[in-house]
Amino acid sequence: MGLSTAAAGDGAQLCVFDLRRGQQEGQELDKILFFHPADCPILLQLSVIGLCEGIVTFTRIFSPVEDCEVIESEKHSHIFYQAEPDIWMVLVVEKTKDNELTWRCGALQGILKEAHSLFAMFHGPIRTLLDRQPSAELARGHLRTFLTDYLSDFHAGKKLQFPTYRDCLKERGTVQMLTVSREVALEVQSLTTVLGSCLGNTTCQSLVLFEDLLVSTTLPPDDTLNLYTYAVLRLTPRALSSNASSWSYLRKGTSVNAGPTSSSSNGTTAGERPLLREKLSKGKDGFVAADFATTEVRGAVPLTPILWFQQAEERMYLCIYQHKSLTILLLIPASSLINGEEGIAHVKKQMLENASQKIVTVEQKLTRGWGGENAYHVAGYRYLLVDPDRRISRASPPGKVTTLAKDSLLALNRLRQEVDLEKSRYKRSDPCHDNDFEVCIRTKSNAWVIAKITRGRELYMALEKGGETLLYASTAVEKFSNRYCEGAFSTD
């Protein structure tokens, strides 16, 4: 019994366990807070978690501060993420021989981070849930529904399929921004001001999205990222439509419609299962809300989800309004609403009264300036730009990336893996200092794969027609940097 059989059924496993629990012999099962697939035999679950715990303990002998990140074996990768002190999330993925399933450790760890951040946004930290109810039923219940819904996005047929080397020009955990003209920016600014004053004395926060791209935010970067991620997963027009043919910078390729996820969906609300796809829809009033027609038990659970924003350190109600391609996420501080749903209804009304016209204008102007899904394509280049400090990225449209040869993608994926290690090395040696770094590789099939880090900003690129010499490739990067990155990656 072991790893190969463990992952055979699904191709992947995801587990969450708490090392503070089940310390007595025979009580090991108590450690497990979540295990996917749920029908995995208990002994197998214990064996996976046993190995993970063993390795976590073992690596601490030598590396007491830095966490175990990965166990790499011939047939599997175990990706570790310590989400909260002593609460670990481990993703086990199975490899195939044809290297079609070559991934990047950092990309898979990004999934765990994203899942945990979203979970914490809706349900608060896992440790808090465990403290609230030491039997862990509450935490297990929330984790089960939430992570199952979250994983539904990765289902390809019966198996879970995670990002591979083919996704090496994407960066999870970043926001994709829409570039707007100065005139439109002023309109958006004015809209944001109106949205902010919907509650009168207390300022409301807001996010404005066009298609799957962020137009404006008043939240700090981490909170923006979480809410943006949720919006792109479930709330934007593309996410809402069951039609998977529409595009997304973030999801295209891996996004598959979730089927009915579990039979236990009765009696839940958006507050409890925020990622349950089929519950969300746009109403006639333009507000997106969970469909409660079938819900019988509501009890004390509020209709509108309350989110916990770690960076802003505030709990807020989320109202979602949609007009054509424009999605507005309005956040109302929970502390300022005494009368719950009634108060929200009032805010909604205020918003429609004050902002409707502006919303229509902004939507029209954005649509007019919008270049479509290939708006950010640069002919001849396949690129990814990341600004980790601002949690922003921009990339070649997925449809264009697929034109790259397998060799180029594999080489770029490998290069990114190297850069990830180099980045963490720099971070350890001097966290305050930005280290510039540049690698250009001419692959055996004559493509250029390039990584360049300048003042903390990252550029990854594959050029299949980049010319034959290094100088030619360097010039291509220079041109790109000057024209599209305000010279951020230029040598001079």
């Binding site: 390795i55 073992f58 830095e66 166990i71 080489a411 770094f437 001419r442 100088l471 030619y472």
Partner: protein
């Protein structure tokens, strides 16, 4: 999870002290009365022992009479390694002591005070624990098959703890945990075989944990490759019943560390052959550690090589630069000997090959040369007399022993004759004398000494214009052009070139330049080698490589790599170097190396060949380069 953890205290049981076994054989000299665990190539394994014993006695005589080493020779040797910087990522101090330990053999009888330390209570402690006369030699080697678990020594000698191998440490000590690079060898039952730091006895529990991790994954039909936690990497290598593990925070690549474990395993095979596996088949709890008794110095020297010797990752060997005629003279006399039943004849100067001749179609893998040279150079006793020792060349035939006749002509230069015959010692004495005679008469040994002093490649000497006269100047010119090189010395070579390694793919040989003054200390040199290692791993990725070119600009260097079907070039520049200029320099280095290739490479193992350069334009970096076509001529023509 790990049932074995803590509970498997059996790992260290039955461990013998490595020094004790050497008492009889070692003191007499370095004619190793070794009997291989599986003397495959030996036609009369049963005869080997008495013969060897007789040989040992005789060799002992020759040892005392046959050598005249300068009295301070060993001290010098130790100092050479002591320049190592302990602050560096990879602490090497263990090696120093090992070298001195290995050297204690000779020191023990040459300089009595060395051997007579406080804790040397037993007289036999002064015996030389050299590999060629090590614990498993003769008396123990033969018992391998019959008695897989030797009796523990009733009176373990106390001489090892005095060494600075941190034998007082174990996995509970924080100093041990903080060591930058651990190497472990253990058996699949969890018995410790080797640890770079700490006493293997005390690491039995730790060893059992490692075994539990590996076996847990193995049992599921999978094989664990590595675990990473921050800057720490734990790399595993399973070789049948033998497990090798490296725990490192030196931030080397997985491929690099795995390659190092492969070499550790190769070194183990060189000493024992792969037939040691049979012992595990007979008795899974077989304790292998005593078989490696006294070979600590060999492993420590190899581990040290990982941070200074590019051969460990390039899989190529390097040659001592010599005038073509000098090398031809050496090759000719080796060739003569090769015809008289020697499988390989190697003339080497430290780690550099002077000449190499193989019988018929036999070829020597660069890794075998590395491991063999490491074995010989890390064992002081080889230096003290002509020696005859069973060794296995893992790449040539991992199952069988060959016999190495080793003789040092001077401090650095030594001859190795490899034969399949275990009784060839006396037959090889004459050829050796003949070779020595010719080498003396034809001034080869003097030329070797001169080359050692003078003929390194200095980036400062890189011809400024490929077409200029200086292009064909021999590398010795660095000393003549001292005034010119002085101006470069502060910044390295032209266009900020600091260093390069050029590997000829056809020849499996590399040449590297000397370090410039800006990379003068060992710490900087190690860092550069690690950067090269990473570059090598990046270029030779299994799934996507080999790539064609790579340019890498970091905080410390600009690195270039350029791989064609003929050669691989690795070059390091000042981090501010200009790309265009750097490319030009790479091109110039390639041209320079080709101009000098008759002096810096050995052509042909059993035949001399000459290289004809055919002009050809490569795309690559935009260089114009040349491909080498080799045409062989038998020598002498």
């Amino acid at each position: 999870l790990f049932a074995g953890r803590g509970g498997r205290g059996t790992g260290g049981e039955g461990r013998e002290d490595r020094g004790t076994g050497t008492a009889s054989g070692g003191a007499e000299g370095s004619f190793a009365a070794m009997d291989p665990p599986n003397p495959n190539p030996n036609p009369n394994p049963t005869d080997a022992q008495p013969q060897a014993a007789a040989g040992a006695r005789l060799a002992a005589l020759s040892l005392r009479g046959g050598r005249d080493l300068p009295p301070d020779f060993h001290t010098a040797e130790i100092h050479e390694h002591r320049t190592d910087d302990d602050d560096d990522d990879d602490d090497d101090e263990g090696y120093l002591t090992a070298a001195s330990r290995g050297g204690s053999s000779t020191c023990a009888w040459k300089e009595a005070p060395e051997g007579l330390r406080d804790d040397d209570k037993d007289g036999d402690d002064v015996s030389p624990p050299s590999p060629s006369s090590s614990g498993y030699a003769g008396e123990r080697g033969s018992s391998l098959d019959d008695d897989p678990e030797p009796e523990p020594d009733p009176e373990p000698a106390q001489d090892w703890p005095r060494d600075k191998k941190h034998l007082d440490e174990d996995d509970a000590s924080s100093s041990w945990r903080k060591r930058k690079k651990h190497f472990f060898i253990l058996s699949n039952s969890g018995k410790p075989i080797y640890s770079r730091y700490g006493d293997e006895h005390k690491l039995a529990g730790f060893s059992a944990t490692l075994q539990a991790i590996i076996s847990f994954v193995e049992n599921s039909g999978d094989h664990i490759k590595f675990v990473r936690a921050g800057k720490h990497q734990i790399v595993f290598l399973v070789k049948g019943p033998i497990y090798l593990v490296c725990i490192s925070c030196t931030e080397e690549s997985y491929e690099g560390l795995r390659g190092q474990l492969e070499l550790m395993y190769g070194q183990l095979l060189l000493i024992l052959t792969k037939s040691v596996n049979r012992c595990f088949e007979k008795n899974p709890k077989f304790d292998m550690a005593p078989l490696l008794g006294g070979t600590d110095a060999v492993f420590l020297s190899l581990i040290h090589a990982f941070s200074w010797n590019p051969a460990t990752f390039l899989h190529a060997y390097t040659c001592l630069p010599l005038a073509q005629s000098t090398r031809q003279a050496a090759s000719a006399v080796l060739q003569d000997v090769a015809d008289s039943g020697v499988l390989f004849a190697l003339l080497m100067c430290d780690h550099k090959v002077i000449s190499l001749v193989g019988a018929q179609k036999a070829t020597l893998h660069p890794d075998d040369i590395l491991l063999l040279a490491n074995f010989i150079l890390s064992s002081e006793s080889f230096r003290t007399s002509e020696s005859f020792s069973p060794i296995c060349l893992p790449r040539y035939n991992p199952m069988a022993f060959l016999y190495a006749y080793v003789h040092f002509f001077d401090e650095h230069t030594y001859l190795t004759l490899l034969t399949t015959r275990s009784d060839a010692f006396y037959d090889l004495k004459d050829p050796r004398a003949r070779i020595q005679n010719v080498l003396m008469k034809s001034n080869v040994l003097i030329e070797v000494q001169r080359s050692l002093r003078e003929s390194a490649l200095h980036v400062e000497d890189l011809p400024t214009d490929p077409s200029s006269q200086s292009a064909s100047q021999p590398p010795q010119s660095s000393r003549d052009m001292s005034s010119q090189s002085l101006s470069f010395e502060m910044i390295g070579g032209p266009a900020g070139l600091w260093h390069f390694i050029y590997k000829s793919i056809y020849l499996d040989q590399y040449v590297s330049s000397e370090f410039p003054s800006c990379i003068s200390n060992q710490k900087q040199q190690k860092r550069l080698y690690k950067a090269y290692q990473k570059l090598y791993a990046s270029m030779h990725d299994k799934a996507t490589g080999p790539q064609k070119t790579q340019f890498r600009r970091g905080e410390d260097y600009v690195l270039f790599c350029w791989i064609t079907q003929d050669f691989e070039l690795y070059a390091a520049f000042n981090p501010l170097a200009d790309k265009t200029q750097a490319i030009k320099m790479c091109n110039r280095v390639c041209q320079w190396v080709r101009d000098l290739e008759n002096e810096i490479f050995v052509y042909g193992e059993s035949a001399l060949s000459c290289t004809i350069i055919v002009g050809e334009v490569y795309e690559g970096l935009g260089f114009v380069t040349f491909s080498q076509k080799r045409y062989s001529f038998s020598f002498p023509p």
